[in-house]
């Protein structure tokens, strides 16, 4: 089976900005995403959402170009103010036209 290379971007952030984040992801070219609920702790620890349910954990498989764009927007609009931990890993996908 032929697998193609893509990037998996994982973002852990606060619930309050879920909608804004997902809209930005779509706008920047992500063709899909998966969201699950999470809680956690980090070096910053400045969040709202204690009452509304902790963190969200977003995963999106994207191309290198889209990844670049998303990371830039994250760096500009999210990192300075919001709880927003992200990491990138190399993944392989089967139907590459979907990502």
């Amino acid at each position: 089976m032929i697998l193609k290379q893509r990037k998996l971007l994982t973002i852990v952030s606060e619930v309050t900005i879920e909608n804004r984040l997902l809209k930005d992801l779509e706008r920047l070219g992500a063709k899909g995403y998966t969201v699950s609920a999470a809680h956690g702790k980090g070096p910053r620890d400045q969040r709202t959402g204690d009452l509304e349910g902790g963190n969200i954990r977003i995963e999106t498989v994207v191309s290198n170009e889209v990844l670049e764009q998303i990371l830039e927007v994250l760096e500009q609009n999210y990192f300075p103010h919001y709880a927003c931990t992200t990491w990138v890993s190399q993944v392989e996908v089967v139907r590459d036209e979907r990502y």
Binding site: T16, I17, R20, T48, D50, L51, E52, G53
Partner: protein, 323 residues
């Protein structure tokens, strides 16, 4: 009299459950209501409050409601301004954080309102049905004024659209307002069939809910130390000022002892759901550690334990003075 009220309030199941929640945090227990249950109960409380308000509203006249409504709007516009100014004197917060805190105190808290209803009604007073309308009305303007005040200190314009949408379509307003309409339309006869659920269980559910609120507030306690004396002072005294204003407006606009006391509590309470969400979106620069500590860590417990009986006592005194 005031003492009796204070005791009656202190030993009511909801307040005791709140204390139990605080205790659980102090004991480092990891007791928590599951997130989904908390959300479910909060939907139940909001919709239930709305429906009961709506049923009562269907028996009110526009004439009765007009003045209190105007008074409530005035409170929503004035309270955050006073808060902003006072914060300037008491704390060293910058304009953005002052505005953020003001937005919280300009808005209001459902649970504090509900606990007030329980105490006021169990003290034998009736409460005007339209107070739920006032609750819904008071939720928004204070947030807007607070954001406006903050925006003066901001190097950029506020994204009003998203913030206002967040409040208007957030579950608080939607369920309260939706419940009001639902209750109004279905009326007493329709309500009868759902009374065992939305009426009979109410205080019990509130008790469970306050257990969780105690835990959440308790987790904020360590932040109080970091908050500085000025913010703590603000969180404790400001409710007395805004609460007194609310009680006075209540009496001036023709509300009874119970209703005026509840309006006082509405005015005294600070939002910790709708306001934080809106402020977080519109003012990312403001620190949740400040505004949530003040509203949820300091003012909420204060009102629940002391503020509500005090404001009811005040309302009785004013009534006694012949207003």
């Amino acid at each position: 009299m005031a003492l009796e009220l204070a005791i009656q309030n202190l030993i009511s199941p909801p307040v005791l459950a709140f204390a139990l929640g605080l205790l659980a945090v102090l004991l480092k227990s990891d007791l928590r209501l599951p997130e989904a249950v908390y959300q479910g109960l909060s939907i139940y409380l909001l919709l239930g409050i709305g429906i009961k308000g709506g049923v009562a509203l269907s028996e009110s006249t526009a004439a009765e409601i007009a003045l209190p409504l105007v008074g409530t709007l005035a409170i929503g516009l004035i309270v955050p301004v006073i808060a902003y100014l006072l914060l300037g004197g008491l704390t060293k917060l910058d304009g953005i954080n002052k505005g953020a805190v003001a937005a919280h105190y300009g808005s209001t808290s459902l649970v504090t309102f509900t606990a007030a209803l329980v105490l006021v009604e169990s003290s034998g007073y009736t409460v005007e049905g339209y107070v739920t309308t006032l609750l819904a009305v008071l939720e928004i303007p204070g947030i807007v004024v607070g954001l406006l005040l903050a925006s003066r200190a901001l190097g950029r314009s506020v994204n009003w659209g998203e913030a206002i949408r967040e409040v208007l379509t957030g579950k608080s307003i939607l369920l309260l307002a939706g419940g009001l309409v639902l209750g109004y339309l279905t009326g007493t006869s329709g309500y009868e069939r759902i009374e065992p659920f939305f009426g009979g269980l109410f205080t019990g559910v509130l008790t469970l809910f306050l257990l969780e609120m105690g835990i959440v507030a308790g987790r904020r306690l360590p932040d109080i130390k970091k908050a500085g004396f000025g913010l703590v002072a603000f969180g404790l005294f400001f409710p007395l000022i805004s609460g007194t204003l609310g009680v006075a407006v209540g009496h001036l606009t023709g509300m009874g002892v119970g209703g005026a006391a509840v309006l006082g509590v509405l005015s005294a309470s600070a939002s910790y759901i709708a306001a934080p969400a809106a402020v977080r979106l519109a003012l990312p620069e403001a620190s949740p550690g400040i505004y949530l500590t003040a509203s949820l860590g300091i003012t909420f417990p204060f009102n629940l334990i002391f503020g509500i009986p005090l404001l009811l006592a005040l309302s009785e005194v004013i009534e006694g003075m012949g207003f």
